[in-house]
Symmetry: C5
């Protein structure tokens, strides 16, 4: 999985019929200091993630292993919202955005 931050939403009316109701979020990749990288993906949300939240994203066939994404043409899913990172001597507190 990669570490990311939700920064926006993609709206689409004309899409695969199995994707009606799916929420497409724009997720920027983060480094270990929680700084945003340039790269991003559009991922389906399966855990109620909101803008500004730090999340984990699973890609490829693994992204179809949730109730919401099963058998659907999606290759990235948000499957966890991150509370905290523990890294060696450093500790990052991630404040949730309500």
């Amino acid at each position: 999985m990669f570490l990311g931050k939700v920064i926006g939403t993609v709206w689409s009316t004309k899409k695969d019929e199995n994707l009606v109701g799916a929420k497409f979020l724009i997720v920027k990749q983060l480094d270990l200091n929680l700084n945003e990288k340039d790269s991003f993906v559009v991922a389906v949300d399966s855990v109620g993630a909101g803008e500004g939240e730090i999340v984990l994203v699973a890609t490829g066939s693994s992204s179809r292993q949730t109730e919401i994404t099963k058998n659907k043409p999606v290759d990235a899913v948000i499957m966890a919202i991150v509370d905290k990172l523990d890294i060696a001597l450093k500790e990052y507190l991630v404040e949730h955005q309500e």
Copy 2:
């Protein structure tokens, strides 16, 4: 999924027999300002996307999860046409090309 723009078509007569009728579109990858990157893929269209339209592309095994691509040797599919991106304080209006 990645954000892309349809810029052309690939024509092929000699291809896997399961791909007869499939439409191969050239999709350039976009950044969040909707500027084209250098990278591109050739993707099968499953939603009636046209040249100049902003789309979402799913890759890998996920690209075989549409009616049109099921069990076929394709690794990229256009599964949504983008209406609008909402990004934090910015808002991008995507005009559809008819």
Copy 3:
């Protein structure tokens, strides 16, 4: 899929027993001006592609969705020979090599 050009062949005697008879071609990746990039893959041919031809290559699990590659340990397949690219105002004619 990516756009590529067949530039050679890989010969192997000692290989997985399911791969006996499979033809391994060296395919360089192309940009949209049909110039060769540095990157290349070794792909199994499923459509009778020859040296110098412009082709489409599908990778990953999708490369096992042809008669020739089914259930075999290959992760790249040539599944189409390209006749022509139509790109916006430009048109590229691809001459087949016989």
Copy 4:
């Protein structure tokens, strides 16, 4: 698989219900001199790896082929702890961290 070093843990309360109990470790990629690269993934632990240990990580659908990760939305798993690398004339001893 890639060679990595466990450097930390990701904590998450709100996640896919099938992931309750899974341990998410931060794994930095290593070069052949065992120096850390910039890139990292968040991987589920299936072998009891601890911080500082050198491990192998399998990604993609292969990461779901362990008892712990089966049918779950994860795309990276630690499936081995490395004892030693033998490279040509060089030999790297990897000391385990207890």
Copy 5:
């Protein structure tokens, strides 16, 4: 598949129980002049490859399509030993290391 050269072995005692007996080889990626690139993977050997040999490596789910790797958490397999490359006007002889 990519073209690689076996340069070493990874030893692991603590690993997924399905991987007992599997041989993990370190494979550096090669360019078309058979020069080693920086990138490498750790791959399971399915064809009896030895150090110094030029091989083909299949990655992803395709790496589980051999007798030795079936249903196991591995994402790279050596599935062929290369005898020779034929490239346009150039010909590379690959001498096997016994």
